[in-house]
């Protein structure tokens, strides 16, 4: 019996494998795992995002954490060009929302909008799914909010999340240390340590770790 790969079920997103998987989307998740580590944590006191920059030769690395609107920041892991498209789109969605309702967009609303867009690429023919995982962190009507959007278009609200190279080590550390009463200072320390655990043999210096703190006052 041939495996689903050799039967060609992994060649397109418009065909399920006999086990009901969309294998191209799973490959896209693999490309998230190749990205540099990105971590997000939320508690009653706010949201913290952290990420590792890969410094190649003399290139000046991108920002890693991207401001979407006055209340939302985003970080992604995976194919940088795909991520850039989604960041631009997120900013546009936030401005369109403000233009329509004169209110800032909520984190969940934004995540679902972007999730809906990403989903199209897992169902329509001739398209390649996005090779990025996105974390949206921010403060809105519901308080501190952290949402993860995956290459299949799935949207999840998270207490803490890590994605990218070494994410299993980072997630194990986050599970150990998390509680919902962490102060922003504690969250920064935990996020840094999670990045350090994921980065393994990469030397961490001020230039290659980026942190964004969004404190929340009820």
């Amino acid at each position: 019996m041939l495996g689903p790969q050799s039967m060609g079920y992994d060649r397109t997103t418009t065909m399920y494998s006999p086990e009901g998987r969309i294998i191209q989307t799973e490959y896209a998740r693999e490309s998230v795992r190749r990205g540099s580590i990105a971590v997000g944590i939320k508690s009653k006191h706010g949201v913290v995002l952290a990420g590792l920059l890969r410094i190649v030769d003399l290139n000046e690395p991108d920002l890693k954490i991207h401001k979407i609107s006055e209340n939302i920041q985003a970080i992604f892991a995976g194919v940088a060009a795909d991520g850039r498209i989604l960041i631009s789109r997120s900013r546009l969605e936030a401005e369109i929302f403000r233009l329509t309702y004169a209110e800032p967009l909520d984190v969940r609303g934004l995540s679902i909008k972007i999730g809906d867009y990403i989903q199209v690429f897992t169902q329509q023919g001739g398209l390649r799914p996005f090779g990025v995982g996105l974390l949206f962190g921010g403060l809105d009507q519901t308080g501190p909010s952290l949402h993860f959007v995956d290459p299949g278009g799935g949207v999840m609200s998270c207490k803490a999340k890590a994605m990218g190279e070494g994410d299993s080590e980072a997630i194990a550390y986050l599970k150990e240390t998390y509680n919902d009463d962490l102060t922003t200072e504690q969250m920064v320390e935990i996020a840094k340590e999670a990045v350090r655990k994921a980065a393994r043999d990469v030397e961490l210096i001020d230039e290659n770790i980026v942190i964004e703190i969004m404190p929340y006052k009820a």
Partner: protein, 220 residues
């Protein structure tokens, strides 16, 4: 092009704004002062006594509006959204010139589609080259000025501005002239009134003056 009903709209007097407003912006050394009245009129009827005619576009840019309220509000929001996207993508703010020209492009496009936005606006602000004031007409024309006024009371206001404005005014003197010009327009133009809104842009950003501060300048 002074009739907004030309393009097949019914001739409803409530749809016929009379530009009943006075807005003023002027340069001083290190910033911009802007003032506007709070009356929104529909012919001889006062539609609002607390209309907002001075708008913050970003941390160092403001806009004043005169004309059809809906068009003006929409243009302010659209400009703000576009400038935000510019700043988010680059990490630094666009210049005042870019803010003005963006708005002028939008207005010109609409004018060429035979359905202009019925507004006359001022875009003013502070950027790395200093203070700038641009006036925009509904055809999409844009000119840079040292001081400017729009609306039905602008002729009265210009009298004060022409006689009192000079280069390198202090912030205090600039505010005093803007407020005096608006007070003069208020006393001679029936479509201008119901108090004052005053903004100042300096290196600290945009600040809206309180009623007490405006009163102090008026009496000084």
């Amino acid at each position: 092009m002074n009739n907004p009903n030309f393009n097949g709209m019914t001739n409803n007097p409530f749809m016929d704004p009379k530009h009943g407003t006075t807005t003023i912006a002027l340069k001083f050394k290190g910033g911009i002062a802007a003032a506007a009245d709070k009356r929104a009129s529909m012919g001889s009827f006062i539609a609002s006594k607390k209309a907002k005619k001075l708008h913050e576009i970003n941390d160092f840019t403001i806009a004043t509006i005169a004309g059809l309220v809906s068009d003006a509000q929409y243009l302010v929001h659209l400009t703000r959204a576009n400038l935000n996207l510019y700043a988010l993508g680059r990490g630094y703010d666009p210049s005042t010139k870019m803010a003005g020209n963006l708005l002028a492009s939008i207005m010109y496009e609409q004018y060429r589609a035979y359905f202009p936005y019925y507004v006359s606006m001022i875009v003013a602000g502070l950027d790395k080259d200093g203070g700038h004031i641009y006036t925009l007409d509904m055809a999409g024309g844009i000119t840079e000025e040292d001081f400017a006024s729009t609306g039905s009371g602008s002729l009265v206001a210009y009298g004060v501005l022409e006689s009192q404005w000079k280069e390198d005014l202090t912030e205090e003197a600039g505010l005093k002239i803007a407020i005096t010009a608006l007070a003069t327009a208020t006393s001679r133009d029936t479509a201008t009134g119901d108090g004052m809104d005053v903004l100042v842009v300096n290196k600290k950003g945009v600040k809206r003056l309180t009623a007490a501060e405006v009163k102090k300048h008026l009496e000084a």
